[in-house]
């Protein structure tokens, strides 16, 4: 229950939620590369997904084999209720820190 959500895991989990019912290792990797402009290796995303699964934040099931996969199926990851709570908590924590920032600090960027 008290599982911590790591920084990178949080990003991965966000994309899993965003690509609802269609998130698998490569799609998340591509999304991180395209949307955030961060370069990540596929294996680190996979690892993060397995770890999220171990922590109970996502569930996986075998999906379709669409795409250039030579008929090999995808492992589709779906966020769990627990995962949603964890994301909320992470966002709340962030927002609390945002709130601590005095107004003038951010005004003159």
């Amino acid at each position: 229950m008290n599982q911590k959500l790591g920084e990178f895991e949080e990003i991965v989990l966000l994309f899993v939620a965003a690509q609802h019912e269609a998130a698998y290792g490569l799609s998340v990797t591509k999304a991180i590369e395209d949307e955030l402009g961060r370069s990540v290796t596929m294996s680190s995303v996979h690892t993060a997904l397995y770890r999220l699964e171990e922590k109970g934040f996502v569930e996986s099931k075998l999906g379709d084999a669409e795409g250039n996969r030579r008929g090999r199926r995808k492992r589709i990851f779906v966020i769990t209720a627990q995962g949603k709570t964890a994301l909320h908590e992470a966002r709340d924590a962030r927002m609390r820190v945002w709130d601590m920032i005095p107004d003038f600090v951010m005004k003159f960027v």
Partner: protein, 875 residues
């Protein structure tokens, strides 16, 4: 549009590798992702980059999620390993007797093996610093007649002739000996030099501390010194440009000093002198031992480099041509030339006329065999005792199997135990090594062959490796055997006693162990007997109260008058060699000039020789006092020579003329015939001997003294010598001492073989103790029942020891046969040899039976003296 990409393959190896390591439940999804990514990259960057990225991804995917788990290790590997070690250790502690017997045996024999490892390391370290070591070769030759031993030297012109005919041969370097005395601070010191070709430094990697390698050996009378020698003669001064007079070989200018050699080399030298000096010396009329002479094959060593692309086989063809062209049946020598790679010199086969001292291969092999033998004995103990102890482990094996242990795991467990024991023994062995090493280095052969046994980190790594391998080998049989039990039977204790004891194999091992001990003991007793025989043998002359002084080139007559002032000296004589020290001089002689010649050994002595050595004349008379010119025309011969010349009786020979080869022919009359006495190397019997009166070839003064307190006499002689020749140290020894020194080599062999024999018998004895204790333990109930039913002690002891007695008898018969056949080979080389004799066999057998009876009997008596009630109580 994406569908058409299906026929593009990612790197096959990467794919296979991925499928090999990735576990089954992830291989499909990750594989799919990988392929999708590959096709993306392929369309974006092309094949090459996509392939690289694919490889990279495959490798990055190796982690704890993806890796296959071995099916039978659901638990943590490390903790089960720890458990094995722990259980193994507890077992060793619990079975103390077993552990002590094994560690003692293993560590002692290991220590001997470690010495051999160090020795082999030392031998392999030769010439490692030579950069050209893999392309340097030398010529050797062998002759059909005489001793069939290869010679490291060749006729001098061969090198140049072969180079002319064979393009692949470059950097030909010739060496010749340059020996002599060099004076330094009023003392004369021997120098051991080599004349070398000017291109020496091109072929060999000797670095010069000072001097120019290109020109250092060009001018006649130039010399390059070894660093140690330069230090010895010149201390801190710069030796370059200084001069050095070497014996009668002229005065040399020092043109270079070598850096300290970075390692050992098979070439022994103190200094290199320019080869051009030899030509200059020949011009001066000095005999340079037949340089440029095809008939003299014992003065020149020739080394060269084979260019890449040329093999020694091609050169061999050229050598055979040369041999056929320059020699025929009638030549003084008719040699076969061979090529030897430098990497095969030390360690390498035995050669005559070596350029330095390296240990011949057979010696290393012989020592390794000895070490291997006792290692085998110790390993057998372990195998035997563990197999016998199996009974105590059956429950454990059963439980482990029930808990799901696979056979492979159990084998592994028991092998770990034996490795543990062997590593433990290694620690002890290294302690033993500390004592063994100095003893070994103290042997005469050790200093003769310049052994350097160094304990380096590498050698320790080798030791540990050796111990682990040994552990695996010794533990393999018991562990395979223990792990083979059926779980249920093992738990029930229903394994038949017969199967457990593995009798056939164990009996064989015990027989082999004792056989080895018997062979070793018999051999060392025989070596001892042979040495005693040599030492005690009556050689037909006396050695009592005689001191030999090495003249070291000084005038005998002068020394004699000086020494005669000493009151304790009864008589003085001179000679060119000391009998029975391995040195002989040959000559030939004829009765009539045209006759067949007779080969003879000769001695050069003066008129007191016969008196001092107490040699008897059969006929005729001795040399006369103060009649040098007459004596020079007279010779004595021994009875063997009498026969060889074909004289019927000693009296026939008297007054006859002999023509003796000696530069010019010496014509001399036989004035006396000596009773045969043995003067030669003990391998050889008595051969024809000629005794000449020839003051210029005297090498030793031999003094007959009256006193017994040697030290006092030696001090007095030393004092006279110091005044007489301040340059040289006195070199004097008793007659017996000088011969003992020569025989020391045999004592060395005795020590080695004897030590190994003692070790092997103790190891075998310990093994027997363990195994008999165990066997008797297993029959305790039987013994008790027999006792209850009224069997007497004697019959029980006989019953318990019967099988051992049979085994020992077999070992004795086999051992003696092998010992007899093996030892006959070397013993037959001696002309004077002791015989095997019944006594050797008798005492060896007696000793062995003693050991066996003591160990088995002790156990048997213990068994019979226990109260039957205490063993039968449980049932």
């Amino acid at each position: 549009m994406q569908e058409q990409w299906h026929d593009i393959d990612p790197p096959k190896r990467a794919e296979q590798f991925f499928e090999w390591y990735c576990n089954d439940w992830l291989v499909e999804t990750i594989g799919g992702d990988l392929y999708e990514r590959y096709i993306d990259n392929y369309s974006k960057y092309g094949r090459k980059k996509a392939n690289r990225k694919y490889w990279f991804d495959v490798i990055r995917f190796i982690n704890r999620h993806t890796l296959k788990r071995s099916k039978n290790s659901k638990f943590n590997n490390m903790s089960i390993f720890n458990n094995y070690v722990k259980v193994g250790f507890r077992n060793l502690v619990r079975n103390r007797a077993f552990t002590v017997i094994n560690t003692l045996g293993l560590s002692v024999s290991m220590a001997v093996c470690l010495i051999i490892i160090l020795l082999i390391n030392d031998q392999l370290s030769y010439d490692k610093f030579q950069l050209n070591r893999d392309s340097i070769y030398r010529f050797t030759h062998s002759r059909a007649e005489g001793i069939n031993l290869g010679m490291a030297t060749i006729p001098h012109p061969l090198g140049a002739e072969a180079q002319k005919r064979f393009a692949g041969m470059t950097e030909v370097v010739n060496f010749h000996r340059l020996g002599g005395e060099v004076e330094s601070n009023g003392k004369a010191l021997d120098i051991f030099g080599l004349y070398a070709s000017p291109n020496l430094f091109e072929l060999f990697s000797y670095k010069l501390k000072s001097g120019d390698p290109k020109t250092a050996l060009v001018e006649p009378y130039s010399i390059v010194l070894k660093a140690e020698i330069a230090e010895k003669f010149f201390k801190d001064e710069d030796p370059i440009g200084k001069e050095m007079k070497i014996g009668n070989r002229g005065t040399y200018k020092i043109t270079g000093v070598l850096e300290k050699l970075p390692g050992k080399t098979h070439i022994r030298f103190d200094a290199f002198a320019s080869e051009s000096s030899t030509a200059a010396l020949t011009e001066k009329g000095l005999d340079m031992w037949g340089l440029n002479n095809w008939q003299n094959g014992s003065q020149t060593w020739t080394y060269f480099k084979l260019q890449e692309g040329y093999g020694p086989e091609q050169l061999q063809v050229v050598l055979d041509e040369i041999a056929a062209e320059f020699y025929n049946e009638d030549s003084d020598m008719n040699p076969t030339f061979d090529i030897q790679a430098m990497s095969n010199i030390t360690p390498g086969p035995l050669y005559g006329n070596q350029i330095g001292d390296g240990m011949p291969n057979f010696f290393v092999i012989g020592l390794s065999i000895l070490a291997g033998l006792i290692m085998v004995c110790a390993a057998f103990n372990y195998t035997n005792l563990s197999a016998a102890r199996a009974v105590t482990r059956t429950k454990e094996v059963g439980v482990r199997k029930v808990m799901g242990a696979k056979r492979g795991q159990l084998t592994f467990q028991f092998i770990i135990e034996s490795i543990l024991l062997s590593l433990f023994s290694l620690v002890l062995a290294v302690v033993f090594l500390r004592f063994l090493k100095p003893a070994f280095e103290g042997l005469q052969i050790s200093s003769m062959l310049n052994w350097q046994l160094e304990l380096t980190t590498t050698s320790y790594v080798q030791f540990v490796g050796f111990a682990i391998v040994l552990g695996i080998v010794t533990g393999l049989f018991p562990s395979l055997y223990l792990s083979s039990f059926n779980a249920i039977n093992a738990m029930k204790g229903a394994l038949s006693k017969k199967k457990l004891s593995g009798w056939a194999l164990r009996k064989t091992l015990i027989v082999v162990q004792f056989m080895i001990s018997i062979v070793l003991i018999t051999s060392s007793v025989l070596v001892y007997k042979q040495i005693q025989y040599i030492v005690d043998k009556d050689y037909g002359y006396t050695k009592e109260n005689i001191i030999n002084i090495d003249l070291q080139g000084q005038d005998y007559a002068t020394l004699k008058t000086e020494l005669e002032t000493l009151p304790f000296i009864e008589n003085i004589t001179a000679s060119n060699i000391i009998p029975n020290t391995g040195v002989s001089n040959f000559t030939e002689a004829w009765r009539e000039t045209k006759d067949e010649s007779v080969d003879l050994n000769y001695l050069s002595v003066d008129e007191n020789y016969l008196d001092i050595l107490e040699l008897d004349l059969v006929a005729g008379e001795n040399f006369k006092k103060d009649a040098e010119s007459l004596n020079r025309k007279s010779v004595l011969i021994n009875e063997k020579a009498l026969e060889a010349f074909g004289f019927q009786t000693p009296l026939d020979a008297l007054g006859e003329t002999l023509y003796i080869e000696e530069g010019d022919t010496l014509v001399a009359n036989v004035i006396g015939v000596l009773k045969d006495f043995n003067y030669q190397f003990i391998f050889v019997g008595i051969e024809p001997l000629l005794i000449k009166f020839e003051p210029e070839s005297y090498q030793y003064a031999q003094l007959k003294i009256s006193g017994f307190d040697l030290t006092e006499e030696m001090v007095a002689i030393d004092k006279i010598w110091d005044e007489f020749d301040p340059k040289h140290e006195l070199k004097a020894q008793t007659f017996q001492g000088q011969q003992d020194e020569f025989n020391k080599f045999f004592y060395d062999i005795l020590y080695i073989v004897g030590l190994i024999a003692v070790l092997s018998i103790s190891i075998a004895g310990m093994g027997l103790l363990g195994i008999s204790a165990f066997a008797i333990q297993a029959r305790m109930k039987e013994v008790s029942i027999r006792k209850v039913l009224g069997a007497n002690v004697k019959s029980i002891i006989f019953m318990l020891s019967r099988s051992f007695i049979i085994m020992l008898s077999i070992a004795l018969i086999l051992g003696f046969s092998i010992a007899y056949l093996g030892n006959k080979v070397w013993l037959d080389m001696f002309a004077y040899r002791t015989n095997f004799g019944f006594d050797i066999f008798f005492f060896t057998a007696l000793g062995l039976i003693g050991v066996a009876v003591a160990t088995i009997g002790w156990q048997a008596i213990r068994a019979t003296s226990t109260n039957p009630a205490s063993t039968l109580r449980d049932d």
